[in-house]
């Protein structure tokens, strides 16, 4: 029976110290590898007669703006259906040059998943047959799921987000309502409560 320990052992035998950061959050084996090795690792996991990770459950990305040089993480969820075990595999890439080899040669399902990831995070999947936006409009010129794009309208001044636990807790992206107010008040007149005088 395949267990997390065996998978870990097989991986370290093959890739030595290049696979690292083994963790088991909530029982799922999680590890990372250098970005240029992603296809080698996926291929090994796919082809190995013992591991047989031949089903790609999910592919997505996460943005860590404070982690310099490794801002974007591409996360693969793989499933071995015969032994019924799942693993999570991550590669990190710099936001300046987010090139990751495509997994479409191995999994047809990676096609749209990678397009979605590109659409929202701007990860350039090298070798993808049709890397273009999928859910957003084609004319969009930014990658909206990156953390520097705040969700709420940054011109809004009637609501102090910090009072409601929505601002500042993540420590990036949005300035406080007060900062915004200063910027806006250069152009508009406000009464003492901060409401614009029409």
């Amino acid at each position: 029976m395949l267990t997390n320990d065996i998978i870990k052992q097989r991986l370290t035998e093959k890739f030595a110290e290049q696979v690292s950061n083994f963790e088991e959050p909530y029982g799922m084996l999680t590890f990372e590898a250098p970005v240029e090795l992603n296809l080698k690792v996926l291929n090994f996991l796919y082809d190995d007669e013992e591991l047989k990770f031949r089903f790609m459950t999910d592919l997505t990305a996460v943005h860590f703006p404070n982690d310099k040089g490794r801002e974007l993480a591409v996360v693969y969820h793989l499933h071995n259906l015969s032994d019924n075990i799942r693993i999570r595999f991550k590669v990190f890439t710099a936001i300046g040059k987010p090139d990751v080899y495509t997994a479409t040669g191995l999994f047809s399902t990676a096609n749209w998943m990678e397009r979605e990831t590109y659409d929202f995070y701007g990860i350039n999947f090298v070798g993808h047959p049709n890397l273009k936006r999928i859910l957003n409009v084609d004319e969009m010129d930014y990658f909206p799921m990156r953390k520097e794009f705040p969700l709420e309208d940054s011109t809004r001044i009637d609501k102090d987000d910090e009072m409601f636990g929505r601002g500042g807790t993540l420590g990036f992206g949005t300035e406080t309502a007060r900062d915004r107010q200063e910027v806006i008040s250069e152009n508009e007149k406000h009464d003492e409560t901060g409401r614009p005088i029409v």
């Binding site: 999570r88 998943m113 929505r166």
Partner: protein, 407 residues
Amino acid sequence: MSEQHIKLPEGSIEKTTTTLNLGPTHPATHGVMQNILELDGERIVSAEQTIGYIHRAFEKLAERRPLAQITTLTDRMNYCSSPINNMGWHLTCEKLLGVKTPKRVDYLRVIIMELARISDHLICNSIVGVDAGAYTGFLYVMQYRELIYEIYEEVCGARLTTNIGRIGGFERNFNDIAFQKLEKFLSEYPKVLKEFENLFQRNRIFMERTMGTGAISAERALNYGFTGPNLRAAGVDYDVRVHTPYSSYEDFQFNIPVGTTGDNYDRWLVREKEMWESLSIIEQAYQKVQEFKGAEAEVYHADVPEYYLPPKEDVYTKMEALIYHFKIVMGETEIPKGEVYQAVEGGNGELGFYLISDGGRTPYRLHFRRPCFVYYQAYEELTKGGMLSDAIMTMSSLNLIAGELDA
């Protein structure tokens, strides 16, 4: 007409194929999605799908919402079986928070989830009938979907976008009317389903329309990430309820129906058989629920004061309850750090929630693994070389839900 009025695009005289836009708003697509088909006569040479017409940025929205407010987002993904999405989200939160739900809650959840599965499959199968020209079955079974919706209504007050349940259980106990309606459903529905089956299953016209069209092999289906009934129709017995049981599914006896060819007819059959299995699961769950006596029969949520709203009368009289009430409503509860993936067997397959929390009040990242999105990319392969009218049926037998495609 003089020559200057006719301006044909260059190369269009020599072109032997026709380009046809199927969608975005076409009655046969049952949702907002576009297919740009290249047709040679009535045969499909190539198909290009365009999606994203109802993209609502749920993943971005979720990054600014406390856990309890994300449930309403999940409603709007697969709106034919929103209770399963809701439960999947609650299970994800419970896994992250380490909440253990009481058995009675699990069984009640199973009842609701299987009802949702029936209503989902019912719609899909009857719509396949509609696309083949058989409207009767669709209208006939609507009555029983209505009954399922009435049960939801008794439990949570809503019908389509249910927002059913809470982290840790349900917002209130099931009332007697809910159980009466469930009993009515259990006693009447088998007859109706049998009759519905008789309309289609051995119907020569229906069989000839569906057999051999939109087929996919097991190997290709796996490579395309198919899950749920569509994968099982191709002959792979993968079901999340059995492989990674959640909500006490391990306590139930049921079969996983599988097909062989993965064509439209097999998909239809697999869904049909799954409805029978769901019925049997509901019967077992209802029996188990009735076995709880005394105080146990009143249990409908786990004890998670930080995430489960206290009773309203306590909020007025007890300080602690007031604080928790305020913190939950305003979303001021800090979520523990963690990274979790939880999957449930949705109406269309494995519905996964990948949640990363950095210890803030909202998820750091939430990704929905939507089965529809994953398998719709195989549409070209499924329809290539086939007839246009078969492509329409393939679309409905895949059970494409635009809400789940786009999220």
